[in-house]
Structures are given as C-alpha cells and as structure tokens.
Symmetry: C2
Subunit: 292 residues, 2 copies
C-alpha cells in the first residue's frame, strides 16, 4: 500500500511534491497552537497498519521537536506500521564532540530522541564533519542523500562560463566533484599564515578566468561569514560578481541580506528549508529513495 504523507507546518510545498512524486496519500491532520502556546494535534484519517512519512525539516529545531514528538506518539497509538521521518535539513550535527569539558554533545542527544520516535530517517547533506557515517550517532536506519548532482545540473543550465570556487582546502573534494559534473573548472583559495592574526589569502590562477562567473558552493549557509569573506577576496582579485549556492538556507539573523549586499550577482539554495532563495528542487531525490 502507498505511504501516507504528513507535512508539519512549513513543509507543505515539499510534501505536496513528494505526494505527487510517489503517488502517496496525503495525511489529513490538524495541528495548531492554543492561545497559551501549547500544541494541539488531531489525526483526521485512518493510519491503522499503514506506513507513514512525516515531512519536517529541522532548522530552528527547539520549538519543532515537541509537536513532532506528539504526532509520532499519536501515530503509534493509532497503530501505524512504520514512521519514516523526512528531515531535509537535520539540526544538531555540529556539536558532535566536547570541544571544551562539560559540553553537551547535542548531536547524540538529539539523535537519541529522534531515533526513539521514528523508525527511519531520510535527510540531505547532513553536516558530517568529524563523523564518517550517520550510523555513529543514529540508531535507526538513515538514508543520506546528496544535492551535489542537482547543483551541478543547475550550474550547467544557468551559468555558461562557471568557475567553481572552494573557500579553503577542506572544500576541495566537494567543489572539484561539483565542478566536474558541471563541466566547469575550479579554483581553491589558498591561505598563507604569516602570524596569528596575519593570514594572506590568494586566489591562484584567477587571471586565466577573467570572463568566467565565480560560483561559490557550500552545504549550509548560516551566518554566511565564509561566503562573504570569499566574495571579498574574489572581488579584490578582479573577478566578476559571483553566484553563491547553498544546500541549506539556514540564514541566521540578517545574513541573507548581508550576503546579497556583499557584491554577489545571485544567491541560490535548494528547497530543504523554505526560503526566497530556493531555486533547486530536491523533492525528486527524496521520492526516489522512498520508492526504492
């Protein structure tokens, strides 16, 4: 039987695409806040023995967790067969070790809580920095999808003379792959440290690509500090106005406006988090893994 797909508030667009792409059934339910800001949840469809998918991207996660917890508990009590959580953006991936004594390793605690309410997790480009696999933190099966190929396709279609830019050596592997699939060259910025506070940044070989459009790609754009810095170095080196692409449009505070005003030509993101910069649709990635 086809899955029933529930969209938590704010996930309606992506959810509609997933319903269409998987020929799934829309899960009817009511979720709202009482005047005192407690959450009310009511199922309006039969879920007995059904496989259920909940679409709930998890940026600004704290206020989202309890409604999600309630919905999962309610579904269990109504005897669902399974719960798959689709969280295109997964929060709490950064604090994955104690940088200082006494710190909460929130990535593990968050994983424990999600693993206790869902049977399976689907996510896109989680920020696996020091961890090799989601298995190290999540006890439920997790499918990790990657937006890189969709980003390459977008670049190929929209930017005729693209020059991919990696902000540092760490980004080289990821940037070189996106560049290869987009059929574009790439450059990685080099930092030469002269002292604690004296770092020289160069853009090696930029003079060869005077007519190319620099394209900056990152997984999460949060404060946008790295991107804005990279844009500054590129402009100093005489490059054209760059295009900035992020998988996840987290955009803390005013960072979107700051990035837009930093001398870029465009800011583009995938629709893992609803944002006005969304231009690359990741719903087909999710549909393909659901249908498997």
């Amino acid at each position: 039987m086809k899955p029933i797909i529930f969209a938590l508030p704010g996930n309606e667009y992506l959810s509609a695409d997933i319903i269409a792409g998987t020929k799934g059934e829309k899960g009817n339910f009511e979720i709202r806040q009482f005047p005192d800001q407690e959450t009310y949840v009511r199922l309006l469809c039969d879920v007995n023995k059904r496989d259920v998918i909940i679409v709930c991207t998890l940026h600004q996660p704290d206020a989202k967790l309890l409604p999600l917890f309630f919905l999962c508990n309610l579904l269990r009590d109504q005897n669902v067969n399974s719960i798959c959580l689709v969280a295109p953006y997964l929060a709490y991936m950064r604090q994955d070790k104690q940088f200082n004594s006494g710190e909460a390793i929130t990535s593990e605690y968050f994983a424990k809580l999600l693993s206790s309410i869902a049977d399976r997790l689907i996510t896109i480009d989680p920020h696996l920095h020091r961890r090799v696999s989601m298995k190290e933190i999540y006890s439920i099966p997790t499918e990790v999808l990657h937006a890189a190929m969709l980003i390459s396709e977008w670049i190929k279609t929209n930017i005729p003379y693209a020059l991919l830019i990696g902000p540092d050596s760490e980004s080289e592997q990821w940037v070189s792959e996106v560049a290869k699939n987009a059929g574009a060259p790439f450059i990685v910025l080099q930092k030469i440290r002269h002292g604690d506070r004296d770092v020289e940044v160069s853009v090696p070989g930029i003079e060869k690509y005077k007519n190319h459009i620099p394209v900056l790609v990152d997984d999460i754009i949060s404060t946008a500090r790295t991107m804005i810095e990279t844009v500054t170095h590129l402009k100093k080196a005489g490059a054209k106005d760059p295009v900035c692409i992020g998988v996840h449009a987290v955009f803390a505070g005013n960072s979107y406006e700051e990035l837009k005003n930093s001398g870029v030509s465009k800011v583009i993101t995938c629709n893992t988090i609803v944002h006005q910069s969304n231009a690359i649709d990741i719903s087909k990635l999710i549909c393909s893994v659901i249908q498997k």
Copy 2:
C-alpha cells in the same frame, strides 16, 4: 550533601530564592543559542554523585523542552545521583482525554517525556481537572503543592474587607477554602439557562457586601475570558472594583492588558511564572518540600 540547583533561562529569581531557602549550591552552567538557534549547553561544575534540582517553569513549553532534555542528558552522563525537576507551572495538563476522535492526549505524551528525563517532579497547582492524581499520568514521584494558603494570607494582609468570588459552581470548593483561611465571606455566581444562547448570570446576595472588595481567584489566568466576564457581572451588580488573583500568570496574547482595563483595581499573581503582576512568593513552598 546539599543539592545543586540549576536555573534554566528565565528562572533565575525563583532559583536564587530556592538556593537561599535550602542553603543549596548554585549549579554553574552555560546555556545559549547559536546564531542558527540551536542550543548550546555546558556544565561548569562537578555534579558527580550529587542530587540535582533543575528549576524550569513550563509555560510556552515547546521551545523549552529540548534545552531541558539536553541538560538532563548531560547531567546523567556526568553521573548525577538524581534529578528533581521543579516546574512551578506545568504545561500540557488540559488535553487529558480525547474530546474528539483522533486527538493527541498531549498531557500523557508530555508526562512520558518528562518522566524519562527526571526522577522526581515538584509543581504547584497543576490543572487537574478530570484526573484525580498526578500518578495517573506521571510515572515519576510528583509533589503537588498548593498556593491557596499563601493567597489567603495575602488577602488577609492586603484587603481589609474582602469578598471572595467564585465564577461558577465548579469553583465553590476552592473559593470557599481560600475565603475561610482569609477570614472573608464568599459568593458564587449563578447561571440560569433560558436557552442555548440565553444565559442569565446573577450575583446572589451581593447587596449585603456593598462596602467589600470583590476578590476573584483562579488557578490559571490564560485568556482571562472568565475573569473579565465575572468582573462585568460584578460591576453590573454594583460591586466595587475587584481584585483579580491567579496562581499562574500565563496571560495569552494581550489578556493581561485586557484584564487590567476591564474595570479591576488590581491584578495579582504568584511567581510560578515571571510576570509584572507577581506579588505572592511561592519559593518557601518549594523549599519546604525540598528540605523534607
């Protein structure tokens, strides 16, 4: 050994009173939000084998739960002996049955989650409406404290000619007790139903108390609808400007301003939730039960 007492953000005043009243130790820790609104928690004291008290009142509960969950998990990992949660206001007490099919009984799910992170719960006047005891929903030991005596004392000290008012027959037991301990008379409003939308409300015997100050008491002031209605009936019946007393200053939306502007002389609450109307200190109730 004395307990270590941690105050979640917003609970610093009450927590300081509890530390003073129990001669407890202040729990040093850091809790803040990253720019992307994820929560960071770091313990800055040794809690090994210690009994820990967390003060975290739970109005507007959704965003509070995950930080609390993280702190409790961190304390466990640091080998505390026990965790006692002091939640002077306890959320999710109203949806304690399915009024309509398919509804989430959030009071049970919330209780399950709190019971999984703490060993013991101390709270004040939880909204036990259809349930007789907290044991029906909480699997951990729960100490329920009552503010009634402190409210009676406040009335006795501050309002020489008080007339306690119950908004309906349901409130009679509670109002009569507060009145008795305050040494004051009481009246309960009567509703006579003439039709579906035609309800007559009378204030029986009000004419005997022309020189008294009506005092309205309720456990939670949320939208303040009942209080404002009761004030209207009292004013129509020629009573003086009433004093409104609530245990929990939930005050949804603009309800505090609306109540203040409804013709009352004063709005008074207990400090279970920090609010400008706080005038009755409940910290000694909590201290007495901690010291037991």
